[in-house]
Each structure stands twice: as C-alpha cells, then as structure tokens.
C-alpha cells in the first residue's frame, strides 16, 4: 500500500471486521449447509449494523495495523504473565509480600493503546492498575520486584511499538 486514503482504509477495516465476525459465528456453530450459512451471514450483518449504529467502528477502535502483530504480542504477553505468575505464587506461599503503590507513565498515542497497556498491567498477576489519568497510571504492586519490573518500561515500549 503506497499511501492509502482514509476511505479505502475504512472499507478495509469494515471488511476485516465482517470476516472476523463471520469466522466467529462459524467456529461457534460449525454448520456447513448453504441455508444455515445464509442465516449466519444475515445475523453477522445484523451485528455489524448494530455496532455501526453504536459507533463502535470508529477509527482507533478497529486498528488494522495491530491485527497481524496481535498473535505475537499475545505470545509475548503470555510469557510475561507466566513469569510474574510464578513470582506471585511464590510470594503467596512464602508470605514475603510488601504491597506498594507506584505511578507509571504511558507513552501510547491513542486511547486503544492506553487501554491496552492498562489491561496488560492488570493482566500480569501481581500488578493492578487502580486509576488511569491522561498519561499516568496508579498501579498497585504486590512486591518490590514486581514494581521494579514494571518500571523498567519494557511493557510500555512493546505496546507502543504495537501501534507504529
């Protein structure tokens, strides 16, 4: 794509959304008959229309660029969850926790990125986002090690790069 204009990008993201919805419908139902597939298309169109009316298809809520990188990001996220999960489990069993509040800066550009970062922090066991201001989060961490891990800013960079 040399320099896609806004409208074609929007159409492309609509088509992607439609395909995702239809694949979702197919996975849940598993029907292959023509008539039922037709009903599936109708129900997908209905959901599409509903989300269009609800203005859920605005530009930064359906980021095309992210979708291809998403699986790799999830694998990385699972690794992080596993690491800090082990730490949290050890903390629970040996009782050496020292809860603390820290503030973390977010460098994402749009709202989706910020929500993504806050969710990722909450998703890794041992750290919970309590409050989100414009660009800073108030984070509760279960121990010094977990909050230090967060303040190395690795996660922030990965999620910012996701949206480049």
């Amino acid at each position: 794509m040399a320099k896609p204009n806004k409208d074609s990008l929007k159409t492309l993201s609509f088509i992607t959304y439609f395909i995702i919805l239809f694949v979702f419908w197919f996975i849940l139902s598993g029907y292959l008959k023509t008539l039922l597939l037709f009903f599936g298309v109708i129900s997908v169109l209905f959901v599409f229309w509903m989300s269009y009316r609800a203005k859920a298809l605005e530009e930064d809520s359906l980021p095309l660029k992210i979708i291809l990188r998403l699986p790799f990001y999830w694998i990385w996220l699972f690794k992080e969850i596993f690491k800090s999960g082990i730490t949290t489990t050890a903390l629970i069993w040996n009782g050496k926790y020292s809860p603390q509040l820290i503030t973390v800066k977010a460098s994402q550009k749009n709202r989706t990125g910020i929500a993504n970062y806050a969710n990722a922090i909450t998703l890794t066991p041992g750290t919970v986002t309590i409050e989100v201001d414009k660009k800073t989060f108030l984070v509760h961490a279960l121990s010094k090690k977990l909050s230090d891990d967060l303040q190395t800013d690795d996660m922030n960079k990965v999620i910012t790069d996701l949206d480049k």
């Binding site: 598993g30 629970i92 926790y97 603390q100 969710n119 066991p125 986002t129 309590i130 409050e131």
Partner: protein
Amino acid sequence: MSYNYIELITLILLAIGCFFILSGSLGLIKLPDVFSRIHAAGLIDTLGSGFIVLALIIYSGFGLLSLKLLLIPIFLIFTSPVTSHAIALFAHESGHKPKGKNKK
C-alpha cells in the same frame, strides 16, 4: 502408546492449573487487604484457567472443539482485567488505603 502420551501431558497441565488455582484461593484468604487479594484472583483468572484450557485443547486434539476452547482464554484476556480494574477503582474511590510495607 501415543494416546497415553497425550493423556499424560493433559494430566500434568491440569495439575499445574489446579496448583495455580489452589495458590490463588490461598492468597485470596491470606493476603492483607482488598488490593492484594485482587492479585490472587487475577492469578486464578489467567494462569489457572489458562493451563486448564490448554490441557483440554491438547486432550481434544485439533478441530472445531479446540477452536471453541481457544475462544475462552481470548475472551478472558479482555474481560478479566476489566473486572479487576473495576474492583480496584471502586475500592480506591471509596477510601480504602492499601496496607504499607510493614508485612514480615
């Protein structure tokens, strides 16, 4: 023979998942305040359910069923942090102070 192999892997993964759920439940009782207990609940949500679903996917083999199972963790990725954040935010706004670093 290969059948037994798959069952063995499933068993091990289920045991790991159960261990994480046990630790999460223990933390839910043992930790000092609201904010710390949310961490324990998050442990159950992510690693506990994650390992159990992984075990079930391996057991069911590749097919429509395993794809459906794969949808569970994908939805949990989105919903579980939202609930944790909602609890934490309301606890914070209603004036709960997190306990400091005075635990042993």
